[in-house]
Symmetry: none
Subunit: 241 residues, 2 copies
DNA sequence: CGATCTTGGTTGTATATACAAGTTTTTGCG
DNA sequence: CGCAAAAACTTGTATATACAACCAAGATCG
């Protein structure tokens, strides 16, 4: 089976929602209706509805039906920001230094994250971001060459990888992990740290419509960088389970 | 049906993981084995395995089997969760140790954050949260006595401060800061760190309708804890399985 | 008219079955 | 012994069926 049937139904429904044919809180076809439309069993149609529900795209109520959920309100916490903009907005000057831009055999962990095979070729860039002449962040990034074949030809002295990527492959999803680590000597050197100090490491995996695009490790000294966020629990939307 | 069968199987498996009978990366019973043990069909056993996999408790490989995932702590940055629930949902056991619960004269920084006067009385609690006998987080919390006058009489061996607070003063807003720090010796001691290691410090200020309620400093070793976040920018594209 | 009952539609749970696809182990042959 | 084929086992997908739980709306009865 080339593509699973339940995945086709999901794709169809996602498209309907995306183009606005099915607005927020509108009812979507029932399990039986989908089963008939796609000539599948109810259990297969159910799976599509089920998975979309788990992803927060739909909500369902027993005895009533399935509905399009309200689009997620984006939290400012860990908002995807361009670090250059961030620095400029603080009134400081920004500069980037490109250390490396190559093709590498894919490490296993990266392969898993990007859906590539072990040792398949992958693009890799290494950049230091400066705020007023002081290194603020070391960015190590792996990019999926199947999705962004021209990545390696860009000039990242003039455009940040993140900005470039969001232009050529619109973000649909992002996954973050924040850790506290002690940096290795290589990282210390490029961040101009005389002694190792606690650093924040943000691991960011971004997705476009067709899957994982890039995996970035962003390391910043704890003394120079922190993350802030603000959450509002104001007027609650329809958040049913 | 009082409790669904697949839920019973999930409970059983979570317990096995929690008590250490099934260590990390060990193989768990196959679909057919579980089906026989619990006298259910394979599809029902499968559902238990499936849902635990979606929760990140297990990982599965076609043709090989299902295994207990490595459970490095991960909490969502996008939601305020009770750390006890978080630990339980990972299949680990939770315990809290109350180190201090007193009234203090308010430090200047805390006064500013909570809208109190310098040296005004403020409640202070200090708690260590344990995951499977290992300290996961040191929680130092200042609470506004004007809003929560009964805070100091609670028994925080049985309810976490955050859960208590959200019950008596519903959250309307929260403010976060995440930093990487090297802990002082006091913190090291209570987190059972022999050497200082990089720690994540989450500073959280919560608000209720009538203003700032509490200011908490949550410190966790980088080797045991990390924060995770997931952002959706469109209802499209999330078709990874 | 109002309260209750019935009915049809919807989601939720569970089973038995079949085959596909991937991995590991065993078997058997050269 | 070495290697290839076969078997056994695992997860993945799909179907057909049955019944339970729940809800909304219409029908019925007092």
């Amino acid at each position: 089976m080339a593509v699973a049937k339940f995945a086709e139904i999901k794709d169809f429904m996602l498209t309907q929602i995306e183009i606005g044919a099915w607005p927020e809180h509108s009812r979507v076809p029932s399990e039986n209706e989908l089963a008939e439309q796609f000539s599948v069993s109810r259990m297969t149609a159910r799976r599509a509805l089920q998975e979309l529900t788990e992803q927060g795209i739909l909500y369902r109520t027993q005895g009533v039906g399935s509905f399009v959920a309200a689009l997620k309100s984006q939290s400012s916490l860990l908002e995807i920001r361009n670090i250059a903009d961030e620095i400029h907005s603080r009134g400081h000057s920004y500069r980037a230094q490109l250390l490396q831009l190559t093709e590498l055999p894919c490490p296993a962990t990266v392969a898993a994250a990007l859906g590539l095979k072990h040792n398949e070729r992958v693009y890799f860039s290494l950049i230091v971001h400066f705020e007023d002449q002081l290194p603020l962040q070391l960015e190590a990034r792996y990019v999926n060459p199947r999705q962004i074949p021209e990545y390696i030809q860009q000039d990242f002295a003039h455009i940040t990888p993140h900005l470039y990527l969001s232009q050529v492959a619109p973000l649909t999803e992002a996954e973050h992990t924040v850790e506290a680590i002690l940096p290795d000597s290589f990282t210390c050197q490029h961040l101009q740290l005389k002694k190792p100090e606690a650093c924040l490491r943000l691991t960011r995996r971004t997705f476009s419509r067709d899957g994982a695009v890039s995996l970035a490790y962003l390391t910043s000294p704890g003394s120079r960088y922190r993350l802030g966020g603000h959450l509002n629990f104001a007027p609650a939307g329809a958040t049913r389970s």
